[in-house]
Amino acid sequence: MTDKKEQTKEHLQQYLQNYWTAPSIFGSVEPFVVDYATDPTVGGYNIAKSAYQTRHDVFNLDYVAREVGITKDEIESRLKKMIDDHTIMLVLNGNVFAMGFSIYSWLVKLRDGCTPEQREEVTNFMQNQDETCSDIAGEGDFDFLLWNHIGVLDFLLNTIIKPVASFPQVENIHICPVARYVREEKVAHWWAPMGTTREFYITDEEIERFPEVQTYWDETDVKIYCALNKKRPVEDFFNFSVLAELSGLKAEDLKGKMKSYVEELPIMIPLFVPNWRKLGLTKHFFVVRLYRGLPTKDKFSIVDELATNPVWETLWQFTQGYYDIIVSAYKELNDIDKLRAQLRAIPGVEEIREFDAYRMLRRWTCRLDEEDGFWENCVMTNDIGIDGVDPKENELYPYGEYSLREEDK
């Protein structure tokens, strides 16, 4: 067993100096650097996540008040409304690569001429399929964007994708393994360019337009949203005294864990996600294919360059997929034609596909369909802890009437 002290990313990956191969998983750090999936304290995040709906002071409201320039009471009152209205949600994005998973995204195209009922049938299936991690519904060159943390590829192919592919209205599916998870919900993630992880990106133009395109948030609320997501030390993010009071755990312990996970490693990214569907926003996605012969370093450079643009809400780099990059921007807050032109102007871009996303069905195992009564209903997929193999599809279980497979019963 490796000593705990030696379980740093650098130490565990020293072996790569002696090999020509990449790590066992795409763009990954060594798995199990940290067992935060089973760590009961997880730096206080879970306490905040379970309490913020009624205890808004789990956040550092003094910081937010200073940042926005209004009183703490007003911050609390506005935050309460945002939370009660379900227009914002506290989220933790854990680095699943550090748990031994890779992220595979996949794009689904429905056949032309699908009726609304046929579309709804697929949508409902995806909404309710708990093995699916994240899922966005849209329309255009693609109709769904999904992504999953996967340990064993068979699980993705057999359990998750196969049932979707078997719908007659599905025309094709592109699997795009994620090599770099650069940005999500406007927050830089683990493989953003060095030093930028956790940075929050938003343009002045977006801030200005935000209050104009919807009725839930005014200018001050938008400022609160920005302040909440601004990169800062964890003690400015959470109120550890309140977390300690709620849990009976020690504030210093909670803070120490959180600093380690969020700031030092970093493998946890706390962020505030807007309910963009409720706020009347549409995400416009560009799915980009680069020329095959383009050197890898150039592909990385293109993504690095895109990462400097605060307009992008999502930015991932793929590997070994038909497509190489996916980016998105809020349609109502930006000039999509201009963004398309910018992308086309990048040397090396061969093809661009586009679609509008109007509904987020699930995100990171959390159901988001507010209208069906499932806002913030966390549904852990059952692959974690069992090596990514779903027994329902695993031929190791031929037990007749004791089989877990429906068809055997």
Binding site: P40, S50, A51, D130, S247, C378
Partner: protein, 469 residues
């Protein structure tokens, strides 16, 4: 944690726990695979008709299984009789404060992550807070509790057990689940059941006292991994055993591995075998050793009167008789010495190749009429304290017929107040006969050793009651 004496407010809380008119489920979930969803589902499916208040700020303002969700216990519109707490450990402390604010009568903490994982300090802090506020709670780290009499299935038990008069109080959820399952299959009727978990606040003494007062309970069965308040435990048992027998398994006593498993399981420190023997003797508890013996003995004590003399065994199998006699000896019991006129009578039934001595061997030739005469003779004889009827079905011995005879004669001689135990050994027909008899209040077992274990418990309780007088 230890208690200096039985607390009246805890007994009051336990009355609410087993007869709640309103239940709040804190940590109620919208997801069918979660405990917080299943608790509500099982409550309704198994027939609970009181109010249910799901509590979960994430699920507010939706409904769960048709019940309106509340953000916190403070928002629940009335003080509830029972608050079930199924939230992550780090929220238990704040939820307990909310429960006190609500005025809840008692809490049931399903959550684990306390003493059993080395976090005793965390558990003690919560216990101190609750005791200071007279808010009793069961747990943490437990399976649940319930009663088939009130259709209460509170926790994550898959179904309710058979209704009856035995109370099971168990420190182990897994073993409790086993007994709930065995209850249905082996016809052990329960009045109530409870998993105690870590016993941070409420432990055996108060549960025993409550079960002692419970009108549906005639027998109390305990699974023990450790006892915290020994003096109160003994005191509680002594008060109860003159009215109701108490049986107990003391687990984790046989090996160092067993002890460490108990410590890891519920954070308990098990005593030695000898210490338990001494403690149980003082308290008037009948000690059993295995899951199966626990069930067998509880069935016997819950169904039959106590013997007022020694036992006679009537069988058609020499081998089953010998095994039974060995077991009598191992357990220090002396079967009846059959002599004089009773011996003469039995000689008529046993015939030239059988035996008129205890065990009475009617031989494989015995048909049901012979069994009838032998049993009737034994049961009506004043020398006989109890009758063990053993059957090894042959092609001429019908288990069903003999079971019917045992039942008819038990009714006919009910006024004599003598125990009768059945023992049908063999295949499905014997299983059916044993079950048929148990459904009619006559304990009946597949093996002679199990039958004698039940007989020994009846005799032991007779002795305990005699001492109490």
């Amino acid at each position: 944690m230890k208690i200096p004496k039985i607390r009246p407010y805890v007994l009051e809380g336990l009355r609410y726990a087993f007869n709640p008119k309103s239940i709040a489920v804190v940590g109620a979930s919208r997801h069918p695979e979660r405990v917080g969803w299943n608790i509500i589902k099982k409550l309704r499916d198994d027939g609970y008709v009181g109010k249910i208040y799901p509590v979960n700020p994430r699920a507010y303002p939706y409904t769960i299984l048709g019940e309106k969700v509340y953000k916190t216990m403070r928002d629940v519109p009335e003080p509830v009789d029972m608050a079930v707490i199924a939230v992550p450990f780090f929220l238990v402390q704040s939820v307990m404060k909310d429960c006190v604010a609500n005025g809840a009568k008692i809490g049931l903490v399903i959550t684990s992550g306390f003493k059993e994982v080395g976090a005793a300090e965390r558990e003690e802090e919560i216990t101190h807070y609750c005791r200071n506020n007279n808010f009793p709670f069961i747990g943490p780290n437990l399976l649940g509790l319930g009663s088939p009499h009130t259709k209460l299935n509170l926790g994550f038990m898959p179904y309710l057990p058979l209704e009856g008069n035995v109370a099971i109080i168990s420190q182990s959820g897994a073993n409790l689940l086993a007994w709930l399952g065995m209850s249905c299959v082996q016809r052990l009727g329960l009045s109530m059941f409870a998993g105690l978990g870590n016993m941070a606040d409420i432990g055996f003494p108060e549960f025993i006292t409550y079960a002692g007062e419970d009108k549906n309970t005639d027998v109390i069965a305990l699974y023990i991994e450790g006892i915290q308040s020994k003096e109160e435990f003994v005191k509680a048992c002594k008060q109860v055993v003159s009215k109701k027998p108490i049986i107990a398994i003391a687990a984790g006593t046989e090996s160092a591995r067993g002890k460490s498993a108990a410590a890891a399981h519920t954070g308990s420190v098990a005593a030695t075998n000898e210490e338990y023997d001494e403690l149980f003797e003082e308290a008037g508890i009948i000690r059993v050793r295995t899951q199966q013996e626990f069930v067998d003995v509880a069935i016997a004590l819950s169904m039959q009167p106590l013997p007022k003399g020694e036992w006679i065994m009537i069988t058609n199998g020499g081998g089953s008789g010998i095994l039974a006699m060995d077991e009598f000896a191992r357990r220090g019991l002396e079967p009846l010495e059959v002599k004089d006129f009773l011996q003469f009578q039995m000689m008529l039934y046993a015939g030239p190749v059988g035996s008129p001595l205890n065990p009475i061997d009617l031989t494989g030739m015995a048909v049901w009429e012979v069994y009838k005469q032998a049993i009737e003779t034994a049961i009506s004889n004043p020398e006989v304290g109890g009758v063990l009827v053993s059957v090894c079905p042959t092609s001429i011995t019908y288990a069903e017929k003999i079971a019917a005879i045992v039942y008819e004669l038990s009714k006919k001689y009910k006024g004599l107040d003598k125990p009768i135990i059945g023992q049908f050994q063999g295949g499905d027909e014997c299983d059916r006969a044993n079950t048929w008899l148990k459904d009619r209040g006559i304990p009946s077992y597949l093996n002679p050793e199990r039958a004698v274990a039940a007989i020994a418990a009846l005799s032991k309780y007779s002795e305990i009651k005699g001492k109490k007088k």
